[in-house]
Symmetry: C2
Subunit: 331 residues, 2 copies
C-alpha cells in the first residue's frame, strides 16, 4: 500500500516513484520537479520501503547470519560485535544465532537462515566436520567458518595461528623454569583444542624430551568444565607447577580452585590461557594470555563472505591470523 499511497497523492506511476525512491533518479533523468513532488509526498506520508517485498523481488536480503556457540562468552560477544560493525559498514544486517554448544541447534539455525534467504552465513561451528544436511544447505548459501573451523574442507575459513601461539606461550612458561606443566582442553576432537594442544606438546616435547599424559585433560569449553578439570588435576597431580587453559572460560573456571590450592600449599601455580583480554585486570595473579586479533578475524571473515557472495573465484580463501602474547604482572 505504500508506493501506491504516493501514487495516489502524486499521480506518478509505480516505476517513476520506485526510481526516485531508490536513488535511481539520475540514471533515468527524472525531472527535478517530479523528484521533488515524489520525495515531498514520501516524507509527508512517512514512507518506508517494505524490505520484505524488495528482498522477494531482488532475491537479495542484504542480511547475513552469524552462528556462535556461546554468546554469554565475552569473546564471542566481541566477535559478534565486530562482525556486525563490519557488515553494517558494507550495508548488511546481521542475524545472530546462539547454539549454546548444542550441536542440534547448529542444524536448526543453519536451516533457519537459509529459509530466511540470508545472503551468507558466518559460523564458528561446534561440530568437527561438515555434517550431511550442511552439505545441502551450503549449496544455496555461501558459508564461511570463523575461529573454530573444520580441518579439511573446501569451505572458506579464517582462524588464528593456534598452534604457533600455544607453542610460544608454552615455551615462555618453560623458559621461566616451570617444568610440570598441564593442559586443560575442550572436547578432544575439536579443531581449537587439537591445534592448541599440538603447539603445547611440541614445546614440551622439544624442551623436556617427553610429555607426561597425566598433565593433559580435556572436557569442554565452559567455566564449569575448567573448574572440574582443575579440581581433578590438583587432586591427581598436586605437584603441578603451571597450567595452560584452552580458552578464556576454562581459565575462569580454573582460577577458583587454583586460588584455594595456592592458599593451602603456600606455593603459586603459573596460569596461562587464551583470550583473557580485559578480564586479566580482575585477578591479582601473574598470568600469560594469548589474545586473538578479533578485529582482524572479523574483518577477514566478512571479507571472505562478501567475496563469496559476489561469486568470486575462491582464491586464497583460507586465512590464518597471528596471535598476540600478553604478560600480566610478570617481569
Amino acid at each position: 500500500m505504500s508506493i501506491k499511497a504516493i501514487k495516489a497523492q502524486t499521480g506518478f506511476s509505480y516505476s517513476t516513484i520506485s526510481r526516485v525512491l531508490s536513488g535511481k533518479a539520475d540514471a533515468f533523468r527524472i525531472s527535478t520537479i517530479t523528484r521533488e513532488q515524489i520525495l515531498e509526498a514520501a516524507a509527508r506520508l512517512n514512507y518506508r520501503p517494505n524490505i520484505l517485498a524488495r528482498s522477494l523481488r531482488l532475491r537479495k536480503t542484504m542480511t547475513v547470519g552469524l552462528i556462535v556457540s556461546d554468546i554469554q562468552n565475552p569473546f564471542f560477544g566481541e566477535l559478534a560485535s565486530r562482525i556486525e560493525q563490519d557488515l553494517r559498514f558494507h550495508g548488511y544486517s546481521m542475524i545472530l544465532c546462539n547454539t549454546n554448544e548444542v550441536p542440534e541447534n547448529e542444524e536448526f539455525y543453519l536451516k533457519l537462515l537459509v529459509d530466511r534467504k540470508v545472503d551468507g552465513i558466518l559460523i564458528a561451528p561446534i561440530q568437527t566436520a561438515e555434517w550431511e544436511s550442511m552439505q545441502i544447505l551450503v549449496r544455496e548459501t555461501p558459508v564461511v567458518l570463523v575461529d573454530r573451523i573444520f580441518a579439511d574442507t573446501a569451505l572458506p575459513w579464517v582462524t588464528s595461528a593456534n598452534v604457533e601461539a600455544a607453542e610460544e606461550v608454552t615455551r615462555e612458561i618453560l623458559g621461566r623454569g616451570y617444568r610440570k606443566i598441564a593442559f586443560l582442553g575442550g572436547p578432544p576432537e575439536t579443531h581449537i583444542t587439537r591445534a592448541r594442544f599440538k603447539g603445547f606438546r611440541k614445546a614440551v616435547v622439544e624442551t623436556l624430551g617427553r610429555l607426561d599424559e597425566s598433565f593433559v585433560l580435556s572436557k569442554g569449553y565452559t567455566a564449569q568444565a575448567g573448574r572440574e578439570m582443575m579440581i581433578r588435576l590438583l587432586d591427581e597431580r598436586p605437584d603441578v607447577e603451571a597450567v595452560l587453559c584452552v580458552n578464556n572460560l576454562v581459565f575462569y573456571g580454573a582460577v577458583g580452585p587454583v586460588n584455594d590450592f595456592e592458599l593451602r600449599q603456600a606455593r603459586p601455580v603459573m596460569m596461562a590461557g587464551f583470550d583473557i583480554g580485559e578480564y586479566a585486570s580482575l585477578m591479582k595473579r601473574p598470568l600469560i594470555s594469548a589474545d586473538q586479533n578479533l578485529a582482524e578475524l572479523a574483518r577477514s571473515a566478512v571479507g571472505l563472505l562478501l567475496e563469496a557472495d559476489a561469486g568470486a573465484a575462491d582464491a586464497a580463501n583460507h586465512l590464518t591470523i597471528p596471535v598476540v602474547i600478553a604478560r600480566h604482572r610478570l617481569p
Copy 2:
C-alpha cells in the same frame, strides 16, 4: 519457483499444495493419497518454504528485534541468550542489534527493525526518554523496554527492583561497620543510575544522617569509566572504606585500582556491585553482588511483547523483578 516445482511434479494446484505443506490438510480434508504425493514430492525436491514470501503475504514475520547497548558485556550476553530461547520457544526468531552505547545507533536500529517488519521490539535503551522518531515508529510496532527503562512512559516495561536492591546492599555494608562509602554511577540521568543511587542514598542518609557528596561519582557504564572513577575517588578521598558500583563493568574497571591501593595502604576496601555473577570467582576479594534475575527478566519481557503483539489490552504492563543479594568470601 518452489510450490510451482511441486505443482509440476504432482499436478496439484497451488492451493492444495500450500494447504498440505502448511499443515492445514486436516482442516481442508485433503485425501490421504493427495497428501502423500505432495509430501513425498516436497521431500524429494528438498522443498523449503520461502519465508519472505510468506511474511509478505501474511503480514507477520515471526521475528522480533532486541536492541542492547553492549553485547560484549556478559550481562547482556546472558540476557540476549535467555530472551532468544524464550522467543524461540514461542516460534519466533530474534534479530540482535548492538548500539555500543551510541544513542544515534538506537534510532538507526529501531528504524531498521520496523522496516524489516518485525512483529515486535525489545529494547534496553541508552536514551533517557522517548525521543521524537521513536514515537512515530512505535505506532507501527509493539515495543517493550527491558532493564533500562524510561521513568514515565505508557510503553510496557520490565525492570529489576533497583532501588530496593541498592538499599539492601548499602545497609549490609553499613551493618558491617563501614562508614565512608562511595557510589560509582553511570550517566547521571539514566534510570538505572538514578534508581540505584536513590536506594544507596536512602540507606546512607537513614543510617548516618547525611551523605557526603564527594563520595558520589558518575560517568558511564563501561569498565573504562569505572577505572577512571575509582582512580579519581582514591585520589580525592583516600579515606574511603567501601564502594558500590552501579553495574558489573564499572566494578571490573574499579578492581584494578583498588587492588593497587590496598597493596600500598595495607588496608582493604570493601567492594559491592550489580551482576558480578560468575565472575566473582575470579577475584580473591570479599564482595557483595546484587544479581538481577535474568531468567525472569527475559521471560517477562517476552511475555509482555507477545501480549502486545496479540493486541492484548495493556493491563498490568509494568513489571518489577526482585534482585538477589550474594555475598562472596564473607562471614
